[in-house]
């Protein structure tokens, strides 16, 4: 509920709230209170940038799923008659690369790779983070100490570089790529989960549940988890563009999955033919940027929706 506007609070700069106090007859009725999730969704929807980004991101996902059906060519289909063909060449709307492969199609397959790896990696990280974070937060003890020790070590070391090392170890497959990125990034999320659990542990409904004899796991899953989801959802949604960037970066270094196309690899290839065929690099870079921005803005929107006062920034 809003607080009253006294001049002292104004001078002190306190945000004096937005909701009117219920009043006597003549004032419009307050809207019926909505649940927490519905309100967050309302706020998200009001944020036009975030909403538009969500639609765009959804579109990307759909395109990625149906890429093999949409793409005019297979990604490794070569056309030796039209190598390094420029934009607008017949049959190749966005041109071809050095082997005569259609750029547009490779873009679509690249999108597929990017999103597959990103969602997969983020899911991995999330699962790891949830399990470890919940246990560390709720049970504490050895698990918590190990987690905190991990974070201390990982704090200093950049996760992208750790992913590079992991890929070297795990090999070059799609699955190992997903694992590598996932393992490199679970730690921060686990900390967040743990922090949430610690806060929520003190809440009364948890104590009530415990008094009624509920077991630890039950409490953790049924009471704490649903309420912690907000912030976790936000970090997960921020993790996706990070994972997309990680996948592209790894591909750029030559550590990607051959021969499946990846935007990062396309950029590296494009560098080599920069002057002769700049379109090889332009389109992957543009699409990459747009995808990243879309998912980032969705994340921003989610964060603002769940925490409009911006206190947790």
């Amino acid at each position: 509920m809003g607080t009253t506007a006294t001049s002292e609070s104004l001078a002190a700069g306190v945000d004096t709230g937005a909701l009117a106090e219920p009043d006597q007859a003549g004032q419009p009725e307050l809207p019926r209170p909505r649940g927490q999730w519905a309100r967050a969704w309302d706020r998200f929807r009001a944020n036009r940038l975030a909403f538009a980004s969500l639609i765009f991101a959804g579109l990307l996902v759909v395109v990625a799923v149906f890429a093999p059906l949409i793409a005019p060519y297979h990604y490794s289909e070569t056309d030796y008659n039209a190598r390094l063909a420029p934009i607008g060449t017949e049959g190749h709307l966005l041109g071809t690369d050095l082997l005569g492969r259609d750029i547009a199609s490779r873009l679509l397959y690249g999108l597929r790779t990017a999103l597959t790896v990103a969602f997969g990696a983020e899911l991995t990280a999330l699962v790891l983070a949830l399990v470890v974070g919940l246990v560390a937060g709720y049970r504490g003890g050895r698990v918590e100490q190990v987690l905190m020790g991990f974070t201390d070590v990982m704090y200093a070391f950049p996760s992208y570089l750790f992913a590079v090392v992991l890929v070297t170890v795990l090999g070059r497959g799609l699955f190992s790529l997903i694992l590598a990125i996932g393992i490199a990034s679970w730690v921060t999320q686990a900390r967040l989960v743990r922090a949430q659990v610690l806060t929520l542990k003190q809440r009364e409904y948890v104590e009530a549940a415990r008094a009624m004899g509920a077991r630890g796991t039950t409490i953790a899953v049924r009471y704490i988890l649903p309420n912690a989801i907000g912030p976790i959802l936000v970090t997960t949604s921020f993790g996706i563009p990070a994972a997309i960037a990680a996948e592209a970066g790894l591909a750029l270094l030559g550590l990607g999955v051959q021969p499946i196309p990846s935007w990062g690899a396309m950029i590296t290839d494009g560098m080599r033919y920069l002057l002769a065929a700049p379109h090889m690099m332009v389109f992957p870079a543009l699409l990459f940027a747009l995808t990243l921005l879309a998912f980032t803005w969705v994340g921003d929107g989610l964060r603002d929706a769940f925490d409009p006062s911006g206190e947790q920034r």
Binding site: T4, A5, T6, S7, L10, A11, E21, D23
Partner: protein, 338 residues
């Protein structure tokens, strides 16, 4: 409905005095919040004679701080001074340019704040903070300023000032910090000192020290405006009291007169709910209700919803400050009639 601009009786001056040091007429300051306009100060007037002390008293949110900040033009960006004049040494402060105002601030009018820990920069030494404005105003050079600062610290009773001046604010005790802040303000020998709740954030023993210090300041001929919600503090050395409520003045009187015989129902309530003053055995009666929301002020007298003597329809029209005796004014039609 016009804004009340009563001609103030010279509260704070004796007959035959020279011109008042400060003459505030009809100050109106509004805050803009989204589409709303909040009248934080609505028609405040008072005079202050040189060498006298005036207390502005009222609950939190009555507009006391906004009033004095308007004088110095130190308001947040959402605030606008929409009316009034503030004559100080022959000039209207509210009409000065920013550059001219800067010359007044800290030099002719100085201000001390409630919490010295927050009002002093934690990463600068005392020397730096105490001397910088002397240099800004061209009073003297750095070296001389340092000497003056040391002497000022000694004046306010801080031991070992030559050593202390090289320390940081957090290294002083609360009382010393508060006194150092006063020393800082007085270094430029201003004609007017504004003290915004200088004793609220300190404990009782320090309160006494601060108040005695302010007495000394007054004896040196500096005018003082003291903001407080504590009538006991006001009584200590202030000559006159202005009682504010919801951005308006509701009563003005010499201190002793007000404390002996408050007239406005709000002033009565303040005294009845005050711990420090009065008979120990009488029951404490807080004023019912709470200060009004500036966005939704009651019609007419802002106090009437909480007033035990309220009568409609008379209380629904705006109350002007009406004289009721030597140097006294009250903004309540009912009191006048008595």
């Amino acid at each position: 409905m016009t804004a009340p601009t009563s001609a103030p009786t010279n509260v704070g001056g004796k007959a035959g005095d020279s011109e008042p040091l400060l003459s505030l007429r009809g100050l109106r300051t509004h805050f803009v919040r989204g589409r709303e306009t909040l009248p934080a100060v609505e028609g405040v007037s008072f005079d202050l004679a040189p060498g006298r002390a005036l207390a502005i008293v009222g609950e939190s949110g009555s507009g006391k701080t906004v009033t004095v900040r308007s004088l110095l033009r130190l308001l947040p960006r959402s605030a606008r001074i929409v009316g009034g004049e503030a004559y100080f040494r022959g000039r209207d402060l509210l009409a000065l340019s920013e550059r001219e105002m800067r010359r007044v601030r800290g030099r002719e009018i100085a201000m001390v704040f409630q919490n010295a820990m927050e009002a002093m920069n934690p990463t600068l030494t005392l020397e730096r903070q105490l001397t910088e404005h002397l240099v800004w105003h061209g009073v003297c050079g750095r070296a001389e300023a340092r000497e003056r600062a040391i002497r000022a610290l000694a004046d306010v009773g801080i031991p070992e000032p030559e050593r202390r001046i090289r320390t940081y604010p957090f290294q002083l005790s609360g009382g010393m910090r508060q006194r150092a802040m006063i020393a800082m303000a007085m270094l430029t020998e201003p004609a007017l000192l504004i003290a915004d709740e200088p004793t609220t954030a300190v404990d009782v023993t320090v309160q006494r020290q601060i108040l005695d210090l302010l007495v000394k300041v007054k004896e040196r001929g500096t005018g003082i405006i003291l903001i407080t919600h504590d009538l006991g503090v006001a009584r200590y050395f202030c000559d006159d009291i202005v009682v504010m409520y919801a951005g308006r003045v509701v009563e003005r009187a010499p201190t002793q007169d007000l404390l002996d015989d408050p007239r406005h129902p709000y002033s009565v309530g303040l005294l009845d709910s005050s711990v420090e003053l009065g008979d120990r055995n009488r029951p404490l009666t807080p004023i019912p209700g709470s200060p009004p929301d500036l966005a939704r002020l009651p019609e007419g007298c802002p106090f009437h919803p909480r007033c035990s003597m309220a009568e409609r329809p008379a209380c629904l029209s705006p109350q002007e400050l009406l004289p009721i005796g030597e140097g006294r004014q009250v903004a309540c039609w009912k009191v006048r009639e008595r």
